[in-house]
Symmetry: C2
């Protein structure tokens, strides 16, 4: 990958604070790219609430095929209260994740000593959640009958396959193997969701045989939320399904410095399609356009993007710049652009 000096990037700024934080992420990306002798040729895609209101479109297939031709995707945030709930999530964000086979939704959590945690004694927190991204209750396999009547019935089907579970479990084990603590925790609810839960449990037990150095444990999702607030330092790599992963990664972000710092990668490890990088936070329409958003999560997402493209030094330069910036935060209010400028300067330096 290191011969490829010119990468193509599809950029989806999206809604709310999405465009603002994306601007800063690209600023920082450019700053390190220059230092590491690579360039990013960008194409911006106007997708999200504005587009939907104007044209009724969420993500036309032809445009998805254009996006597919890029080396990676950087996304800001998607969603607006003016759009019925689910339209943009299902029609745009999840369409990208599912069609481009982003089966590893990677969400690291780290407590920076200088950033306050809502926990009194968080301890040393440094774990990563490997959330499955293409199955589970997110598949959109549901329906409703007699809508709006007293006889309405609505269903949602969680679909789990050995194919889908095994590939994400393997990825999680490989990540655990590369980390010093070598620990993997499966989070599910196999005492109630017995069919899906037993598939997950059996798969982890089976793949574990190939990774004898990894310590494996299992937690029900409800118990996992307890440990995330009483002993988050116990976690190293967590592997879990799409819905449980959604829930626990927001909680993980909250206990480790807040959603303003939480980055994510929607990764296609087989590289059959571009991976997509985005902050865990949403579009926060209440503060949009006011330069109040913290772009750090978007900037750290750009670091995950570089790492995925094999540009590990450039990725590390961003991470180091963010860490240095965070450590010097005084509580003084900075604009979105000021934070981006400060991190870009450090990353380039």
């Amino acid at each position: 990958m290191s011969e490829n000096k010119n990468f193509t990037l599809a950029v989806v700024p999206g809604d709310g604070i999405g465009p603002e934080v994306t601007t800063e992420a690209l600023k920082v990306l450019d700053a390190v790219a220059a230092q590491h002798g690579v360039t990013f040729e960008r194409t911006e895609y106007d997708l999200g609430a504005r587009r939907w209101h104007a044209t009724g479109e969420t993500l036309p297939d032809a445009e998805l095929e254009e996006i597919r031709k890029h080396d990676a995707i950087l996304l800001g945030a998607v969603g607006d209260p003016s759009v019925p709930s689910g339209v943009l999530e299902r029609g745009l964000l999840l369409k990208l994740r599912f069609t481009l086979d982003h089966y590893v939704n990677l969400r690291p959590s780290k407590i920076y000593p200088s950033v306050g945690s809502p926990l009194a004694n968080p301890g040393e927190v440094d774990f990563v959640v490997v959330r499955e991204g293409t199955e589970g209750p997110y598949v959109g396999n549901g329906g409703a009958l007699r809508v709006g009547t007293p006889a309405e019935i609505a269903t949602e089907v969680s679909v789990n396959t050995a194919y889908g579970v095994e590939r994400v479990v393997r990825d999680a084990f490989a990540r655990a193997q590369a980390r010093p603590r070598k620990k993997l925790t499966l989070v599910h609810k196999n005492n109630v969701l017995v069919y899906a839960g037993h598939l997950w449990k059996r798969t982890v037990d089976k793949v574990a045989e190939e990774f004898p150095e990894i310590t494996v444990d299992y937690l029900h999702v409800d118990a996992a939320t307890i440990f995330l607030v009483t002993d988050p330092a116990r976690f190293d790599v967590i592997v879990t399904d799409n819905l449980f992963g959604d829930i626990i990664t927001d909680l993980a972000a909250a206990i480790s410095g807040g959603i303003g710092l939480a980055a994510s990668g929607n990764i296609n490890p087989d590289r059959t399609a571009p991976s997509m990088f985005e902050p865990v936070h949403g579009s926060a329409p209440d503060i949009a356009g006011q330069q109040k958003a913290d772009p750090t999560a978007a900037i750290l997402s750009a670091s995950l993007l570089l790492d995925h493209l094999g540009l590990t030094e450039a990725a590390a330069a961003i991470e180091a710049a963010v860490t240095a910036d965070i450590e010097e935060r005084t509580g003084a209010v900075r604009t979105t652009a000021e934070i981006g400028d400060a991190i870009a300067k450090r990353a380039a330096g």
Copy 2:
């Protein structure tokens, strides 16, 4: 209800620490019953891991029909690692909840000033979660094909009906109406689980019209976990589905003094069958039989039981005794029985 001086109680001590904490809950119940001129005639049911190992039975229908004849059920805890995951949960605990139509799973959360919270600044926390108890992903409507092969597929179906959602939503509104802050928060994930989510949202919006004094808001479950650690004081009454309720009530317990204090009622508000009261915690086999378990959650569950039977003064006496006991906790280690004795003495005094 106040003419009925003799109540019948089905007692299921269960597994692990279940019998120990149940003994203390009954001790306290007897202490206040005597003071309030009522008696509880108890029948104990030997259900759980021991019984399953001995006979292969979880809960025979004939025994369920016996249990049904009582005024209420007190349960300790169910589950043991020696039993395959799901067997006792589905065959015993969930069978009771579903067959006896416990559609309101009531779980109060309160921070006692003297009890440490893992949160640095929890604020004044006093909310109640109304968790739906008879529908959602808990219905057991799933299956698996080609189990153990690379072509395995496992599904779990969340079933939601207007009938089931509306009755629990009405109950939650009525509870909010009776509380000073008069606030109700619906927790769901209606941007992804659009069929079930929209049924819940529409139902809350419709019932809200009959409760003009109630302030209503909506949170996605992932965002709710953030607020539970950053601003739990914002919650008053939360209404949510069976699975989301399971997850957020463990988190709620963790932030408010721990799972040792969290009580719950599985309530049939129509009184077509007895309601069941149990601590939120599990059977904790690692500390079973050692007098190490905190019986407070079981004791508070007995208070919820009294309240449900209309014995509000007796219920309040237990709550006051628990509060007084908690406020004087010094950190000195007490046995399960010592805690029960201390609370029983206060409650009777």
